[in-house]
């Protein structure tokens, strides 16, 4: 009678399992990238286009020569990429929820936060790939780091860490807004002023005073300055501390808010 009654060991949702399930789900997002690399197009093509556009269109006007501008803008573009790639986290989560994949996960004895942890961890790979594309293409165009490889690596790690702290903004938006498309639209509204309201593309001195006031404290500016310092030389300590403070602050505000919105969205079913 009881042919299939033997239940496998399911040990519920202990903290150790949360990490393990998070990793399994992160593996899922990474596997997705491997299977359909076109999902990376937005984060790979975008850096290339941005680089070409800004360097050859504005480089001469802003920095006097395209070569000089390339040196200045590339570290900043790394920050920009982390910012735009972080949008993907919310988009992917929103898609999973609207397609019902989340319902299946939630009917399993895994921690409620495991899918969230998995999505965020999986995104590290996306950040890394697009940063590699940007750096590689930049070097092809003539970018040369004047420091050492370790510093460049540190810059990349810092930028990824920034992506991981700001991605909770897109998670928060994704949990508050219903459709994945709306999430994208909303995120752009938040991201664009952040991105251009910085010294990534133009020197702060050329801006009006009220804009300088913001640009000088903007996390994007601080991160870009840190990355520049680490890659082409210049002050590192000051902007690094400011960047870390910003990242801690963002995490402190956004992570609890995103978790709250996540739990709320799930309980609404």
């Amino acid at each position: 009678m009881s042919t299939a009654a033997v239940a496998p060991a399911r040990s519920g949702s202990r903290p150790g399992n949360m990490v393990r399930h998070g990793l399994v789900l992160a593996g899922r997002s990474v596997g997705k990238i491997r299977r359909s690399p076109e999902t990376l197009l937005d984060v790979t093509l975008q850096p290339i286009l941005m680089l070409l556009m800004f360097v050859y269109l504005f480089g001469g006007a802003i920095a006097g020569s395209t070569d000089a501008y390339l040196q200045l803008v590339l570290p900043g573009l790394m920050v920009m990429i982390a910012l735009t790639a972080s949008l993907g986290t919310g988009f992917a989560l929103s898609q999973d929820i609207s397609k019902g994949v989340f319902d299946r996960f939630r009917s399993l004895p895994i921690a409620r936060s495991a899918p969230l942890v998995g999505a965020v961890l999986g995104d590290i790979v996306r950040y890394a790939v697009s940063l590699a594309v940007l750096l590689g293409f930049g070097m092809l165009l003539g970018f040369r780091a004047t420091t050492d490889p370790v510093s460049v690596l540190l810059a990349a790690l810092l930028v990824i860490a920034f992506g991981l702290s700001i991605c909770w903004l897109s998670v928060l938006l994704a949990m508050l807004v219903r459709s994945p498309q709306a999430v994208m639209g909303m995120s752009m509204v938040v991201i664009w002023p952040l991105m251009f309201g910085s010294n990534i593309f133009a020197p702060t001195e050329t801006m009006p005073g009220w804009l300088q006031a913001w640009v000088n404290i903007s996390p994007i500016t601080q991160l870009s300055d840190t990355a520049r310092g680490l890659m082409i030389g210049g002050e590192v300590a000051g902007p690094l501390v400011a960047s870390l403070l910003w990242m801690a602050g963002l995490l402190l505000v956004l992570f609890p808010a995103a978790s709250w919105a996540y739990r709320r969205r799930l309980s609404q079913g």
Partner: protein
């Protein structure tokens, strides 16, 4: 009797809208329970509460003896859920979809793959197992989705409209899979809009409408409760219809409904005993009947009768036996 699913007075409210207004359910272990109702009746809400996806606003429910509000993790360890829309990762292959669930259930990589293969075989998806799910047909998707809810060998399985949108062939496949699961001792609760589905699969049926239970019982009980039986005679030759109509009128005391196109005569009866008398009379009259049957009203009739009263102010005739379907 031990119940695998028990719910008392389930209430769920969304702002002004009350999705469930006190639903009771009791499903004996190892049986198939059907929850029947129109769109928006509250079927999906009830399933989501029982599967611990939604918090309830009133009443209580237990699955496998575990309280859904207080012991949700224990409930999740023994249930499987197949929602209304296939919960698959479109980019992943069938095998990967199933293996992922296995991994999340703490199986080793190897045993997760083995279990996935086993299920693909069982659901006749072995050939498609290596292809991404986005290329699957509707029926294949459903089967894969059903398979995904079985990876952990659940004791209780929730199926929310498992055959909505499927062609008849795929529907039959899903039906036989559900039946074989029940034979293995799995308790199944399925929601459906299809009366035929509830009739074929479910041991007991709960009819809900506007968040309330309007009827509960075995299919034949529900049919009996709402209307009388009817007697049907299909004559071989059209010319015999008059003779048979005469005999029926005499036996039952009212004229039968005649369907000239299919030579079918139908008349409501209170006492099934007339059937044997009818056979003798037809024999004596030398009439050959192709079909002679005593029919319960269809679940369609039952459903109309049960929900018609609450959804519409307009009176509807109860269980009109005039147009009996030609199935079965």
């Amino acid at each position: 009797m031990s119940y695998a699913i028990q719910a008392e007075g389930l209430v769920k409210r969304y702002r002004e809208h009350t999705a469930l207004a006190g639903v009771d359910l009791a499903v004996p272990a190892g049986s198939i329970a059907g929850v029947l109702g129109p769109n928006g009746a509250g079927k999906t809400t009830a399933v989501r509460i029982l599967a611990t996806l939604l918090r309830l606003d009133g009443g209580r429910a237990s699955v496998g003896g575990f309280d859904v509000s207080r012991q949700p993790v224990s409930v999740r360890e023994i249930i499987g859920l197949t929602g209304q829309y296939a919960a698959l990762d479109e980019e992943m292959t069938g095998l990967e979809n199933l293996a992922l669930i296995g991994r999340l259930l703490n199986m080793s990589r190897r045993s997760a793959r083995a279990r996935a293969k086993e299920l693909l075989d069982q659901f006749e998806l072995s050939d498609a197992g290596g292809r991404p799910a986005k290329g699957y047909s509707g029926g294949m998707r459903r089967r894969l989705d059903l398979a995904a809810s079985l990876v952990g060998r659940p004791q209780v399985l929730f199926l929310d409209e498992p055959t909505t949108g499927l062609d008849p062939h795929s529907r039959n496949q899903v039906w036989s899979l559900v039946r074989s699961l029940a034979d293995e001792g799995v308790t199944v609760l399925l929601t459906t809009q299809y009366l035929e589905e509830a009739d074929r699969l479910a041991d007991r049926i709960t009819v809900i409408d506007q968040g309330r239970v309007v009827a509960e019982g075995r299919a034949d009980e529900l049919k009996r409760r709402t209307g009388g039986q009817s007697l049907q005679v299909r004559t071989s030759l059209p010319v015999d219809m008059d003779t048979v109509a005469g005999i029926l009128t005499e036996l039952v005391g009212r004229a039968p409904h005649r369907d000239e196109e299919s030579n079918l005569l139908t008349v409501p009866v209170e006492d099934p005993v007339v059937l044997s008398t009818l056979v003798r009379r037809l024999d004596a009259a030398g009439v050959v009947a192709d079909e002679l049957a005593l029919r319960l009203p269809s679940l369609d009739d039952v459903f109309l009768a049960l929900t018609g009263r609450t959804t519409d102010t307009e009176e509807r005739p109860t269980a009109a036996p005039a147009k009996e379907g030609s199935l079965a």
